[in-house]
């Protein structure tokens, strides 16, 4: 409980605020698990948000908007993938340049649609709405993107833990040469992961312009989200559950900022707007120190350190960012 805001409202707004970020971060996580870093994230989020809004506005169909957003993301993924996987160009350079290009392209092409009214994905009641207790009614009445985000989480936990394809994807990110020796096609698996990941990033971008921060403009409100998502993937240790927890923490800090602003009107609003960023850094420092013992000895046996290790230890896919040349 914070001030006079009921807990259920707080939870509901955290869920709503975190959903697009979750979809974006999980998308990037899929890409990185296969060993490719897609740094174009931040620009692509804006680009697909713009495309999604424009298409939804022109066709009047939200589905078409989301789909267009996803496809816009996938197109940029195609560029990143082709350049870095098949031409062996630096993944960092390609991603970075593309990020800036996409951002400017989004502002330029989207300019005519600035500050116009368009279709918005609203919160919808679940079919079994009436059967739920009142607090759950508030929490679960959300736009479809929230349900998609958490369904995606459940799917990815299963996918990486229990599915064969998931294991193959991880194996390529760890050691593409060994994956090749076992009869897999590392380049194809990486390309497909990049496409799937960037499609989700596009959907996440669409979720901003069609739901969380409806409309297009400069600034749109999704600026910087891509970088946060990149950081979340790293500190979430490339594990779906932890990435999502990080995204929700960030959304919680943002929501708190808005709430606190109302309570303390004398403090400049910028303080609350920027607070999530340093708070995120403090969280990371805490994570670092809490796992120091576990990292030193490899495996922790005592209860507390073992759990801290499981919760906070971070380990990247071993060949992340390295381009692999098939023999």
């Amino acid at each position: 409980m914070m001030g006079d805001i009921p807990l259920s409202v707080l939870i509901a707004s955290v869920l709503a605020a975190s959903a697009p970020l979750i979809i974006i971060a999980l998308g990037e996580m899929i890409t990185e698990k296969s060993g490719v870093i897609n740094l174009s994230l931040d620009g692509v989020v804006l680009f697909s948000a713009m495309i999604a809004f424009v298409v939804a506005k022109e066709t009047g169909s939200l589905t078409a908007g989301f789909l267009a957003g996803g496809l816009a993301g996938m197109t940029t993924g195609l560029i990143v993938g082709y350049f870095s996987i098949y031409l062996h160009l630096s993944q960092v350079a390609v991603g970075f340049a593309l990020s800036l290009l996409c951002r400017d392209l989004a502002y330029f092409l989207g300019n005519p649609y600035s500050r116009v009214q368009g279709p918005t994905l609203l919160a919808s009641k679940l079919p079994f709405y009436d059967a739920l207790p009142q607090s759950l009614q508030k929490i679960l009445t959300q736009p479809l993107t929230v349900h998609i985000a958490f369904a995606l989480l459940a799917f990815l936990i299963w996918f990486f833990k229990s599915s064969r394809t998931g294991l193959q994807l991880r194996s390529v990110g760890e050691n593409p040469a060994a994956a090749f020796a076992r009869g897999l096609n590392p380049n194809r698996i990486q390309m497909l992961s990049v496409l799937a990941g960037s499609f989700l990033v596009g959907i996440g971008g669409a979720a901003y312009s069609l739901s969380l921060k409806p409309g297009w403009g400069r600034p749109q409100g999704a600026e910087g989200v891509g970088w946060i998502a990149l950081a979340l993937v790293i500190f979430g240790s490339w594990q779906p559950m932890r990435v999502v927890m990080g995204a929700m923490l960030f959304a919680f800090l943002q929501v708190c900022g808005i709430g606190l602003q109302g309570l303390f009107p004398s403090i400049p609003s910028q303080v609350f707007q920027t607070a999530p960023f340093p708070l995120m850094i403090f969280t990371l420092i805490f994570m670092h120190y809490s796992t120091r013992k576990t990292r030193k000895h490899g495996e922790a046996e005592s209860g507390l350190h073992k759990w801290l290790g499981i919760l906070f230890m971070s380990r990247a896919p071993k060949s992340l960012g390295k381009s692999y040349r098939q023999q």
Binding site: R170, S171, A178, F180, G298, E299, Q326, Q327
Partner: protein, 474 residues
């Protein structure tokens, strides 16, 4: 399946690795492929699995010309290879490593199959342990079981006994013979003549990328050695024990984790000039012992003191000791960097050339470390090693080396370096330990169970201690 190589050749840039190699491996036999380091054995096998492409010639399987472009193609028709350097995924679990890459068998129960196979072979593999916590030998074991599980019909083994204990060998060899008698074609790449002799039905010798000899069992060793090296390397007489000076390494009431059982030891003192061999089954504690002495890991309890400068040469040279993509001359300049801001590239190149000549490394100053063969990597490490070091710690110093290179390494260590250097090394080869060390430590389940002067012990006693016989454990 019958495997037939017809006039295979392979070029790497300007280097001719294989020239017109032809050989036939019959169905249901074990075919040995021997030769010194860099003779082209591994390259030939990698061509068969589709991991590397050939520059000329063709491969026939059961009389049909096949064109294997990727290991995937080869796996589909039942060709599988156990690589010399583990080709696996250290951050994944044993079970995950085991279940990756069996295209034909999607629905089988991997866990049951793994447990079934490891019992049959006498390997102890916990399915949910991370592979990065295992030794090289154990990683080879997983890979071998996986290949058998995938119903491989042509099994290629590149130095399969690296890091496998004598006891495991006793289980592995009959198993391989049984597999062959059931119709599997096995190609065995090895340096170890005894192993080849006890296992193989036929042997082909490669030298400088060409077939120099082909023969069927029984084998005549001098003949094979002649074909491998041109001249027979002589087994030197064991040198006299060196004089022991003041303590160089002191360890006191150590307790630590790592490997299978961790490591506990009361007290240990190594003197200047001592050559100490560490024997033990894979994962019994030698690796941890060396890393503790090297300062690469810290004990949970206890004290370690090293007098003077020490260096450590690990078994996994590319992973732990060298920089894969950095040139030889840069390796030298990194070592000599000192406090200078500038790099003297001309000077370094000369320095590298000198090292290359002095240590007869087959490579150029600008070739990278992973261009070198295993033996030449070891030579490079020795060239980089500070000859003034007081303590030298070596993990399996002759791993992947042929007899001549191995002898060369030992000659350098014992003759060229000061006789006051304390040398501590581990090796899976009992003969190497008995031959070169003055003192033997035997590890078993994370403890030292035997600490004796080499002259006062023998092969049987050490082997018994390694398997835990003298300690009363199983």
């Amino acid at each position: 399946m019958e495997v037939e190589f017809n006039n295979i050749s392979k070029r790497f840039g300007t280097v001719q690795a294989l020239t017109d190699v032809s050989l036939t491996a019959q169905k249901g036999t074990i075919h040995g492929l021997i030769g010194e380091n860099g003779a082209g054995k591994s390259t030939l096998m990698k061509i068969l699995t589709g991991y590397q492409t050939k520059s000329g010639g063709d491969i026939c399987i059961d009389g049909n010309d096949v064109n294997l472009k990727t290991p995937g193609d080869a796996a589909k028709i039942g060709i599988g290879m156990l690589y010399q350097e583990p080709m696996d995924f250290p951050p994944l679990t044993v079970l995950e490593n085991f279940s990756l890459g069996c295209p034909a068998l999607a629905k089988v129960r991997f866990k049951e199959s793994l447990q079934h196979l490891s019992t049959a072979f006498g390997f102890q593999l916990a399915p949910h342990r991370l592979v990065e916590l295992l030794t090289v030998g154990e990683r080879q074991q997983i890979e071998l079981l996986r290949l058998i599980h995938c119903q491989t019909k042509v099994l290629i083994l590149d130095e399969p006994t690296t890091g496998i204990s004598p006891a495991q060998k006793k289980l592995l060899f009959p198993a391989l013979k049984k597999l062959a008698s059931e119709g599997m074609t096995i190609l065995l790449v090895s340096h170890k003549l005894e192993e080849v002799a006890s296992l193989c039905d036929e042997v082909t010798v490669l030298r400088h990328g060409k077939v120099t000899h082909h023969t069927k069992a029984p084998f005549h060793f001098p003949e094979l050695l002649q074909a491998m090296f041109g001249n027979v390397p002589e087994q030197q007489k064991k040198a006299d024990a060196r004089k022991t000076g003041p303590a160089a390494i002191t360890m006191h009431s150590i307790e630590t984790g790592g490997e299978r059982q961790g490591l506990t030891l009361e007290s240990f003192i190594a003197g200047e000039g001592e050559i100490i061999g560490l024997a033990g089954l894979d994962g019994a504690g030698q690796a941890t012992f060396l890393r503790l002495a090297a300062g690469l890991c810290f004990p949970k309890q206890g004290k370690i003191e090293i007098a003077g400068k020490s260096v450590f040469l690990p078994a996994d040279r590319l992973e732990e000791a060298l920089f894969t993509d950095i040139s030889l001359s840069d390796h030298f300049s990194l070592r000599d960097a000192g406090n200078s801001f500038w790099q003297k590239s001309k000077h370094n190149k000369k320095r590298a050339e000198k090292g290359i000549n002095a240590f007869s490394i087959k490579g150029k100053p600008d070739s990278t470390a992973d261009d070198l063969s295993g033996g030449n990597q070891q030579r490079l490490l020795l060239a980089l090693l500070d000859p003034e070091s007081d303590v030298i710690l070596l993990e399996n110093p002759t791993r992947g080396l042929d007899i001549q290179s191995g002898q060369w390494v030992w000659e350098y260590l014992t003759k060229t370096l000061s006789s006051e250097t304390c040398i501590v090394f581990s090796s899976p080869e009992l003969d190497e330990i008995l031959h070169y060390s003055d003192r033997i430590l035997v590890f078993y389940d994370g403890e030292i169970v035997l600490d004796s002067a080499t002259a006062k012990t023998n092969h049987g006693q050490v082997a018994a201690a390694m398997t835990g016989v003298s300690t009363g454990k199983e």
